[in-house]
């Protein structure tokens, strides 16, 4: 067992983990943050995407011990004061989800896209940047619309971006 200490959604957590524990297992099983999902075992589907030190990563391909001393943000940590993050609100408004399983990873990826590429995103950019997230329900049509709208909304809500 190895002791890890990290900040998850603004809270400090310390736990003893088996070295083979993946970050996603640590979040789901130890911290019971079950919003981060597992959809594959080859680092492709993106259902497990979280932010690690501000960058989107696949939590299924990071060991919990590697995240020691890091800052992790999950889907549970982006709404502020009971208000949805603009990207969460955009997914709801534009019907960017159906079964909801890929949605946390999609939203975390989408926020990362905005952080890297800015608030004015064209369709082709969004489609290309969603390379690492699979959805089997929506055909992506409304996800693309949601990301574009969420990106613009994030420009109007600078506080929420800064909160991370």
């Amino acid at each position: 067992m190895t002791t890890v200490s990290l900040t998850v959604n603004g809270q400090s957590v310390t736990a003893d983990v088996d070295s083979r524990t993946l970050l996603v297992q640590f979040l789901r099983d130890t911290l019971r943050l079950t919003g981060t999902h597992v959809g594959c075992d080859t680092s492709q589907c993106g259902a497990c995407v979280v932010h690690l030190n501000g960058q989107a990563v696949k939590a299924c391909t990071v060991l919990a011990v590697q995240a020691d001393a890091s800052v992790v943000t999950t889907i549970e940590g982006i709404a502020q004061g009971g208000e949805l993050h603009p990207m969460q609100a955009a997914f709801r408004e534009h019907h960017g989800l159906q079964c909801g399983y890929c949605t946390p990873g999609m939203i975390m990826s989408a926020i990362d896209i905005v952080n890297r590429k800015g608030n004015a995103l064209d369709e082709q950019t969004i489609r290309a940047e969603l390379e690492g997230n699979l959805c089997r329900c929506t055909g992506y049509h409304n996800i693309v619309k949601a990301v574009a709208a969420g990106a613009q909304a994030m420009a109007q809500a600078p506080l929420q971006q800064a909160a991370e």
Binding site: L22, T61, V62, L63
Partner: protein, 268 residues
């Protein structure tokens, strides 16, 4: 995953010492090949030596006529580096084509080069750019480094510290992605140096990344797509799988080579 001991050294020397103490140790760089392999229980190292906390393995420097990249530099950092964009834009573009954004936020150039996956992108850049792979023990020319699928000149416990890329006059990388995995089904890196043109192909060869002397000679005479007319790679040296047979891969090498030359020539 099988159980393993986890180590997190803070210097290359410490990492090398740790490797020397364990028979079945593996270095952990970005982990995006090793960890999935371990999850599927296709690898079971007794210990993992995480190189992630070694500051001396990170960073991008331009010095004179070369770009030197620390082994633990992430693909995303290469893709967004202003120095690389200015000096070898083809290299930044290649990095931007690896995997997906999340993979690029974790995967490292050193990990990719050390692994020498036959479908990885960086080996093509290293070969075409005549890079030097610098380790904790020596400096290895790319031509000597890549020795076939998943095989390199690295000794047991040897650690890549940096990769140094000479800045070419013109270069470009054209990649045809495997539709499923996003690895290179065929990737061709073309680089025009003062001393001639180098063409390296990844994804296609049955023995891993390779150079194409015939294309290099033709392009050294005339750096234009039409110079490649009539030049084909041998089908029997191409890889074949459910995504692409040897004939298709051989064909794509020609198409991607022309597209790379076009892109490189268009930079001026």
């Amino acid at each position: 995953m099988y159980a393993f001991d986890y180590h997190r050294p803070t210097s290359v020397k410490e990492a090398a010492n740790l490797a020397g103490q364990s028979e079945e140790a593996k270095f952990l760089a970005g982990g995006h090949t090793l960890l999935p392999t371990m999850k599927l229980r296709l690898a079971g190292p007794a210990s993992l030596i995480d190189l992630g906390q070694i500051a001396e393995l990170r960073g991008i420097q331009r010095s004179g006529d070369a770009i030197t990249i620390g082994a633990m530099t992430k693909h995303a950092e290469v893709a967004s580096s202003a120095d690389i964009r200015a000096a070898i834009p083809a290299l930044a573009e290649l990095a931007e084509l690896i995997g997906d954004p999340h993979v690029r936020n974790r995967g490292t150039i050193g990990g990719s080069v050390a692994n020498n996956d036959p479908s990885a992108d960086y080996p093509a850049a290293c070969l075409a750019l005549d890079a030097a792979i610098v380790t904790d023990k020596r400096r290895i020319a790319a031509d000597d480094f890549f020795q076939g699928i998943f095989t390199t000149a690295l000794d047991e416990g040897e650690i890549i510290t940096q990769i140094s890329f000479p800045i070419p006059a013109q270069a470009a990388y054209a990649k045809f992605r495997n539709p499923a995995s996003r690895y290179a089904l065929v990737g061709v890196f073309v680089a025009k140096h003062a001393g001639g043109v180098r063409v390296a192909v990844t994804g296609a060869g049955s023995n891993g990344v390779f150079r194409v002397p015939e294309m290099e000679e033709a392009l050294s005479r005339n750096f234009a797509p039409e110079a490649l007319d009539g030049i084909a790679v041998a089908e029997d040296e191409m890889n074949s799988d459910i995504h692409a047979d040897a004939a298709y891969r051989a064909h794509l090498v020609g198409v991607m080579a022309r597209r790379a030359v076009e892109a490189a020539a268009a930079r001026d």
